[in-house]
């Protein structure tokens, strides 16, 4: 609420605008247009010049399969991130311990590592001869398999969830948890009935970021699992084999599906703001 009011004030104020503000506005506009025009241009050009190709791509079995695989693997990676990330986020938000900064940096490494590098690292450890891959080989395989896709997505996207949830936990006054405890709640109940609901918005936002990051991943996935093809791999594969006009309809489709889900989830979780203290 507060932020909206401020923005409105900025534009309706009778005072002459600050010159610096005008510069900022201009630069922000450049950034906005760079992203929006690039994507909109692709979508519009596809729709205007070659709508039939888009429709036939949408009906093509391998395209549907790849895009759903992206969504599904991203979802699984996000769920695993939730299970592993929420406890880590809670510990980082509440406790001070030796080498905490080091632990935080390690958890953030996937954000800065080039994704092909991450892919090589993952393949080394999860491959048939790897430290983890070898003993598990008779039960589960990662190379060119669904599990490999999920592992690659998990590696690159988990930090986004952990960081967002940690911020959510940090915003919750520990006194609320103390109060719940002294009212008779064991720690797990205090966490379940007080901490988690109050962090709901951050958990949701973190999950969206995590899922979005997972389904947009290409570099790490393509190294550990070229097949089965996820959406981005299919786009790349078609581009290499048949060129721009063959890959673009799939790219457009991928964007449209992703954006639709993204916007839908945001709308659904918008009402959760009431839990926020600020």
């Amino acid at each position: 609420m507060f932020k909206i009011k401020q923005t409105r004030h900025m534009f309706t104020s009778r005072k002459a605008p600050e010159p610096l503000m005008l510069v900022f506005l201009f630069l922000a506009l450049v950034l906005l247009l760079f992203v929006a025009v690039t994507l909109a241009n692709m979508v519009i050009e596809q729709v205007v010049t070659d709508l039939p190709a888009l429709i036939s791509a949408a009906c093509e079995k391998s395209v549907i399969k790849s895009i759903s695989l992206s969504m599904y693997a991203g979802l699984v990676a996000t769920l695993i991130s939730l299970v592993l990330g929420i406890p880590a986020a809670y510990i980082l938000a509440r406790k001070d311990f030796f080498a905490k900064g080091f632990v935080e940096s390690v958890l953030d490494i996937p954000v800065v590592v080039p994704h092909t590098v991450a892919g090589i690292a993952l393949l080394t450890i999860f491959g048939a001869n790897g430290l983890i891959g070898a003993p598990l080989e008779s039960y589960i395989q990662f190379r060119d398999a669904f599990a490999g896709i999920v592992i690659a997505m998990l590696f690159v996207s988990a930090p986004f969830l952990t960081n967002s949830v940690r911020e959510g936990f940090q915003n919750i006054d520990p006194r609320l948890e103390n109060t719940a405890r002294s009212l008779g709640a064991p720690m797990w109940k205090a966490f379940l009935f007080v901490t988690l609901p109050l962090a709901a918005r951050h958990i949701m936002a973190g999950s969206i970021m995590c899922w979005a990051r997972a389904i947009s991943e290409f570099g790490a996935v393509v190294i550990i699992a070229y097949y089965p093809m996820i959406g981005p791999t299919l786009v790349y594969d078609r581009y290499l084999s048949y060129g721009l006009s063959a890959s673009r309809p799939i790219a457009v489709l991928l964007i449209l599906v992703t954006l639709t889900i993204f916007i839908a989830v945001r709308l659904i979780s918008a009402g959760w703001r009431i839990y926020d203290k600020d």
């Binding site: 002294s182 009212l183 008779g184 709640a185 839990y275």
Partner: protein, 347 residues
Amino acid sequence: MIRIEGLHRNWKEFALKGIDLEVQDGEYFVILGPTGAGKTLLLELIAGFHAPDSGDIFINGKNVTRLPPEKRNIGFVYQDYSLFPHLDVRKNIEFGLRMRGISDGSRVERMAENLNISHLLHRYPLTLSGGEQQRVALARVLLIEPDVLLLDEPMSALDPGTQDTTRRLLKKIHSMSELMVIHVTHNQTEAQILADRIAVMMDGRIVQVAAANEVFDRPLNDRIAHFMGVENVLKGTVTSNSEGLTSIALDSCEIEAVSGCAVGETVHACLRPENVTISVVPVKSSARNAFEGDVIEIEPMGALLRVKVDCGFMVNSFITKQSALELGLELGKRVTISFKATAVHVV
């Protein structure tokens, strides 16, 4: 009964340095001390939110030092009341019962009625005033029928009018339930009105425990005296003492007091500003101490004025605005201050 033995704890910039305390059943016990003395930390240790570095806490003879907070049956109300913002008032109040697997709407409603918040049950905490939030917090904590109620600066977030109401409410709750209350504050008035006994806490130590009036009238040392609002603390040496009537030499003059101090002792004479009278003509009264001096400061203090007089030593006096007008007080005016020997407390 709560007994605390040798409690030590270092936490961030606060430290408790060996706390020993005993609070009786049904007692209204106030821990009074300046900000940063470690009062809240002490309460949090009693409640079990932190573990002590050393020392023990006993409730009704049972050592609870290692028990988690949910097993201590202690009610805790924080300064900001810590209502759960995602739950409405009803759900906040019944939280303790729900954690025990009890669902009893009528108990919630009776409690809400007692505290006059029945009309708020469906509201969310962020829409309530400070006083309303506090009553909700009290309802929530009283519903679990705690063995002891811990209150952390319960008035500090309220405006003066609501503070009055709250004081009366706390008195009522205490007298009706005969609940042991440990109330932490830095406000002496609040302590004096509510407390059966007061523990004065400074720098992580309990420095005096006594009945409420005694702490005010007979503070143990000059620092406590200062903190308790004794504005005039004069350092001097005892020069004579005959049957309690003591002469104390200050730098420039001598005052008389009633004490049992021995000759030659270095002492502090504590004199409350409300016990110092100001006149413009030299007075003959039973006051043994009368000194001439100049008014050097006049400061409004709510309904009163604080007048600082330099008579070789500095003395603060409280007088009403009316009498200031009648005396024609102004800066630099020559006046006589006087106080009775019995009004001086020597430590």
